[in-house]
Symmetry: C2
Subunit: 157 residues, 2 copies
C-alpha cells in the first residue's frame, strides 16, 4: 500500500517542487467521458477523430487539469490541502500513449491565511508544454502520513 | 442515441446561456480518483472522511471543473469547440448526492480569432455557489450535429 505524505505550510519554501506522472490510454478517455459527461466523439471514436483537425483521438483538456489537482493533493502540499483556485492555459493536444508530467513549484507563501501559490506546468514525453497554470491552495498545518486507499477494480466493456 | 448540437460562432450572442447537470455518487468518486490519480481518502474512505474538516466524503474539486468542460464541449458552444483556458474558484465542498448545475453564459466575443469568453457558474441543489470561473474558447465556425457515442459499460468492484 502506498503512502501519501504531505508538506505542511511551515516546512514549505519558495522553489520547492514535486512531479506527478500519468499516461493517457483508452481507459482514461472512457473514464473521463463517463465521470464528466463529455462524450464528444473526438475523445472516443477513432474513425470520427480521423476527420477532426487533430487527426486522431485526443484527451479531454480538463484531464490534464485533473492531473494537476491530483499532484497538489498527493504530493505538494499533499493530504490536507484545501484547493481554492486554479487557472489553466491549454496549449497542445494530448494523444494516446502520451505520458504527461505535472511539475509543481512553490511560487509564493502568504502567511496570514497559510495560502500557497503554486506554479503548474504539464509537459509531454517530448518536453513540450501541454498546460500551464497557477494554483492557489491553503496548505495543511500538520504533518500527515496516510495509507492511500486501494481503489476497487474498474472493468470497462 | 442522444445528439450533440453546437452553436457556431456567428450564431452566438452575448448573454446566450446553457446548463448542464450531474449528480455526485460513489461512482464519480471512484472514477475520478482512478482517472486523475488523486486517491486521497477524504474522497474514498467514509470512516476517514468523518475525521476530516468536512465530516464526510467530498468530491474532488476538479470534478466540478470537469463538468464545466463537459458543458462547454457538449452544449455551448458544443462540438468543435477548442478549449484555450479556464480559471476556477472553488467555493464550497460537494457532498454525496449533491446535484450540480453548470450554467454557462456568453460574456464576450472576440471576432479576430473567433474567441468566446464564457462565464461559468456551478451551483448545488440549494442554489449555493460551488465553483465560479471563466472559460476562453474558440467557437466552431460550422454547424455540427453528431450522435453521442455510447460509452462501454463500466463496472466497479
Amino acid at each position: 500500500m502506498s503512502k501519501l505524505v504531505n508538506k505542511p505550510y511551515d516546512t514549505l519554501q519558495e522553489g520547492d517542487s514535486a512531479t506527478f506522472e500519468k499516461t493517457l490510454t483508452e481507459r482514461e478517455l472512457v473514464l473521463f467521458a463517463a465521470v464528466s459527461g463529455d462524450v464528444n466523439p473526438v475523445h472516443l471514436d477513432a474513425e470520427f477523430a480521423k476527420t477532426s483537425m487533430f487527426g486522431e483521438r485526443i484527451a479531454h483538456g480538463m484531464w490534464s487539469g485533473s492531473l494537476i489537482s491530483a499532484a497538489l493533493a498527493t504530493t505538494l502540499p499533499g493530504p490536507g490541502t484545501i484547493y481554492l483556485g486554479q487557472d489553466l492555459s491549454f496549449r497542445r493536444p494530448v494523444k494516446l500513449n502520451d505520458t504527461l508530467t505535472v511539475s509543481l513549484t512553490v511560487k509564493e507563501k502568504q502567511d496570514a491565511k497559510k495560502i500557497v501559490i503554486v506554479d503548474c506546468l504539464v509537459t509531454n514525453q517530448n518536453s513540450e508544454k501541454v498546460v500551464t497554470g497557477t494554483a492557489k491552495v491553503i496548505a495543511p498545518t500538520e504533518k500527515v502520513e496516510l495509507d492511500a486507499p486501494q481503489l476497487p477494480e474498474i472493468k470497462i466493456g
